[in-house]
């Protein structure tokens, strides 16, 4: 009786360990499959031009807002602007209240997707919160508002 108890004991520990292992593997597989579908890749305008992004695919677009390109539509809540990385420029549009530090000549990371006409429809704009906060993707970028040139020390 005692012997079978010990046997069973080993057995239960083994079963629990196997279940835990299966769960960990399952978590990894789940994460991998979801990452494949849901991870949004970061694109600079130049990447968009060279690699191409299919319309409707959720991505992050990052760059500088071109000086003089920011326009407000008649409804008062839709804006259009151009995003550049110094090599290429893409048009973008956003409906909503832009973040406090969103302005021409400053950095922006926009989440959204391209429409059929090649305009980037942003669902969310992430701009700098303050002087010390910078979206990581934009680190080291400097934009010259006069010449529209951008330096990236990457």
């Amino acid at each position: 009786m005692a012997k079978t108890g010990a046997m069973k004991s080993k057995h239960q520990r083994l079963i629990l360990a196997i279940i835990a292992l299966v769960a960990v593997v399952a978590a990894g597989l789940l994460a991998a499959s979801a990452l494949k579908d849901e991870a949004a890749y970061f694109y600079a305008p130049d990447d968009v031009k060279t690699k191409g992004v299919e319309p409707g695919k959720a991505i992050r677009l990052g760059g500088m807002v071109v000086a003089g390109s920011l326009k407000k539509a008649a409804d008062g809540v839709t804006i259009t602007f151009d995003v550049t990385d110094g090599k290429a420029t893409v048009p973008a549009t956003f409906t909503g209240i832009a973040p406090d530090l969103f302005r021409e000549g400053s950095g922006v990371v926009a989440e959204g997707a391209f429409d059929e006409t090649g305009t980037f429809v942003a669902t969310e704009l992430l701009a700098k919160h303050d002087e010390r906060y910078m979206p990581r993707e934009l680190e080291g970028m400097n934009y010259n508002a006069a010449t529209h040139e951008m330096k990236a020390d990457r």
């Binding site: 990894g28 990452l35 919160h129």
Partner: protein
């Protein structure tokens, strides 16, 4: 002077931590009682010195001493006193000082209050606690000295990030840190028990109140942080799956799993090795979170200004402590005896399911949080956002809730599946009823996940009170009430999340004074806008009149401008009613005199945080219920003059 005093106290505290380690280590290996008797007093002195250093820093901030670099960088003399006070930890160095202070205080708590643990395990625990503290003292003193002087002194400070200038700052970081660092106690207990080979039910009973306390604090900290982000950021969301939020969620998931497995170990003497492993994982997650937030590897409002040296320092600490604990676990796991048996249909099984699901969610969140960092190392910039987390964590969390419904209705050790099913009849009927009603009322209008969320929330809410059904309510132990209320809180919170994502109405408009918009039964009139000024800001403030069913209320959203540092923030206005919140944000002024206005009606959104507070309250009740007897005994001893 104050700065020097603080620094001296900090060095002394670090020296005492070293002494504490050595005393415990030598005392245990050479069985020297004289050395071991010194450990507890040293732990208390270390905590007092550390608290003194922290007080010094607060004083420096309150006095706006601009000859201290940290104050000059992060404070401003014109700031309201509350933000000078709370600003002491609203920066990298100060928050790390808070971290070691909490760690020291928790260690002193273990030294003073812990009575049930075997002496050797107790001493090993205190030694381990001091060893962890030592690393963080070194981090503070060598790479993040909060008391560094600035010569010549600055004329005035650079100010605090306006987003942090909110009463939330006084509350959210300290509670969160108590939770984070409180888990270090569980970690030290695990190390102590492995060193002395005493992983058993008594060890679990001794560890449980510490785990529960840390978990309650962590819960409150997360709830406070979530509500703070909700009203301060003006985006109308309450959880963004931001890496820093994940950094607080991961320890919480591990701690939740731990407090359930520790109960299995305490009550049934099963899951021994696993519980020790979880205790190690929980605090490891706290440290991973700190690394992510404080290393500058992520950018966010939490990251402050940081340099890479600190990142490597924390990473090194992380590797040493986690690696060391895992190595110890590997070496000693063979000596941990197998716990008691249980049948496939038993409460233990449900708690194993709980643990597995929580661990899987933890793994998935961890992978999602670290993945962008890993891909960046290979040159790809990737962001992993809400679609990923919601898609995986959502269904897993619902499964977890279902297990939570069944677990408390199943007996320990052995139960009959038929009987369990019988007890689940009412919750099942409730779920079917809600599903049918929702299906008829709003099929196709709400997403699958919110739909399932509402259905499961109803089932769990009912299921959580079933365990009270056959009890005499007056004689029901407090810890049972604690469980019931915490589980009910999960249902309440889930209902709030699901209702918010299913039924929120959003209106975006450009309005001029006199304009009116209709949203979800509310009529909102933009009556006027005028400048107002605060202590260190000026703002444009709108008068919005919201009407519903004859009742009227005034809301005042603002667009605030801070001069130090120069920043604009939007201050949302929120009107709370029993059935939800009306949330208004004032955007930018347009050239034609109109203003951008964003209005949300969020039905039952407050349930999210109410549920969170219920979860924490359940934890508090459980602590009281479990520990009351010990406290009474202790009081009686003290009355009898025995301070032992």
């Amino acid at each position: 002077m104050i700065a020097e005093l603080g620094l001296a106290a900090l060095w002394l505290a670090a020296a005492l931590a070293l002494l504490q380690c050595v005393l415990a280590g030598l005392g245990l290996t050479q069985s020297r009682d004289d050395l071991l008797s010194g450990v507890r007093p040293v732990a208390v002195c270390q905590a007092l010195l550390c608290a003194l250093a922290f007080l010094c820093l607060i004083l420096l901030f309150l006095r706006s001493d601009m000859s201290v670099l940290l104050v000059a960088m992060n404070s401003h003399s014109a700031k309201p006193w509350l933000y000078k006070f709370a600003g002491a930890w609203g920066n990298h160095e100060g928050s790390m000082l808070l971290w070691v202070t909490v760690m020291g205080v928790a260690g002193a708590g273990v030294a003073l209050l812990e009575r049930t643990l075997k002496r050797d395990t107790h001493m090993a625990t205190l030694g381990a606690q001091a060893l962890i503290s030592l690393g963080f003292y070194a981090f503070l003193l060598f790479s993040s000295n909060p008391f560094e002087r600035l010569a010549p002194p600055a004329a005035d400070g650079q100010g605090l990030n306006p987003l942090l200038q909110d009463p939330g700052l006084a509350f959210h970081p300290p509670t969160l840190y108590f939770g984070y660092v409180g888990l270090s106690v569980a970690f030290s207990f695990a190390v102590g028990a492995l060193v002395t080979r005493t992983v058993d039910a008594a060890f679990a009973r001794a560890m449980r109140p510490w785990v529960l306390t840390a978990w309650v604090m962590l819960t409150i900290g997360i709830v406070a942080g979530s509500y703070w982000a909700y009203y301060e950021l003006g985006w109308g969301g309450w959880w963004f799956w931001d890496p820093v939020e994940n950094a607080s969620l991961m320890p919480w998931l591990a701690a939740t799993a731990l407090l359930h497995s520790v109960t299995v170990l305490a009550t049934r003497d099963a899951l021994r090795a696993w519980t020790v492993m979880l205790a190690v994982i929980a605090f490891s997650m706290s440290m991973v979170g700190t690394f992510l937030v404080r290393s500058g590897i992520l950018t966010s409002v939490h990251a402050f200004a940081v340099d890479p040296e600190r990142g490597s320092f924390i990473l090194a600490l992380l590797a040493i402590y986690i690696g060391g604990a895992l190595a110890l676990f590997g070496a000693r796991v063979g000596t941990v005896r197998e716990g008691k048996q249980f049948e496939a249909m038993s409460r233990e099984t449900w708690l194993v399911v709980n643990n597995l699901l929580l661990t899987v969610i933890l793994g998935v969140v961890l992978i999602g949080t670290l993945y962008p960092l890993m891909t960046e190392a290979f040159g790809h910039k990737v962001s992993v956002g809400p679609p990923y987390f919601n898609r995986i964590a959502g269904p897993l969390a619902l499964m977890l809730m279902l297990a939570m419904m069944a677990g408390p209705l199943t007996r320990w050790r052995r139960d009959k599946p038929g009987l369990v099913a019988e007890r689940l009849i009412w919750p099942a009927l409730a779920m079917a009823g809600i599903a049918a009603a929702l299906g008829v009322a709003s099929w196709g209008k709400i997403g699958l996940l919110p739909f399932l969320g509402l259905v499961v929330a109803g089932g769990v809410a009912l299921g959580s009170i079933v365990p009270l059904g056959k009890r005499n309510l007056r004689r029901t132990p407090l810890f049972v009430w604690g469980m019931v209320i915490a589980h009910m809180g999960c249902a309440v919170s889930l209902a709030g999340m699901a209702a918010d994502s299913a039924f929120t109405t959003e209106k975006l408009a450009a309005m001029k004074p006199g304009d009116n918009v209709e949203a979800a039964g509310w009529s909102v009139t933009f009556s006027s806008v005028a400048p107002v000024a605060g202590e260190n800001w000026s703002a444009m403030q709108a008068d919005m009149i919201a009407q519903r069913g004859g009742a009227e209320a005034l809301l005042n959203p603002q667009n605030r401008f801070f001069s130090d540092p120069p920043t604009t923030t939007t201050e949302s206005a929120i009107l709370t009613r029993w059935d939800g919140q009306l949330y208004i944000v004032l955007g930018d002024a347009l050239d034609d005199g109109r203003w951008q206005v964003r209005i949300w009606w969020k039905p039952f959104v407050t349930l999210i945080w109410l549920g969170g507070l219920m979860i924490a309250a359940g934890g508090v009740l459980t602590i009281i219920g479990r520990e009351r007897r010990g406290w009474l005994l202790k009081l009686r001893k003290i009355h009898a003059g025995d301070w032992g």
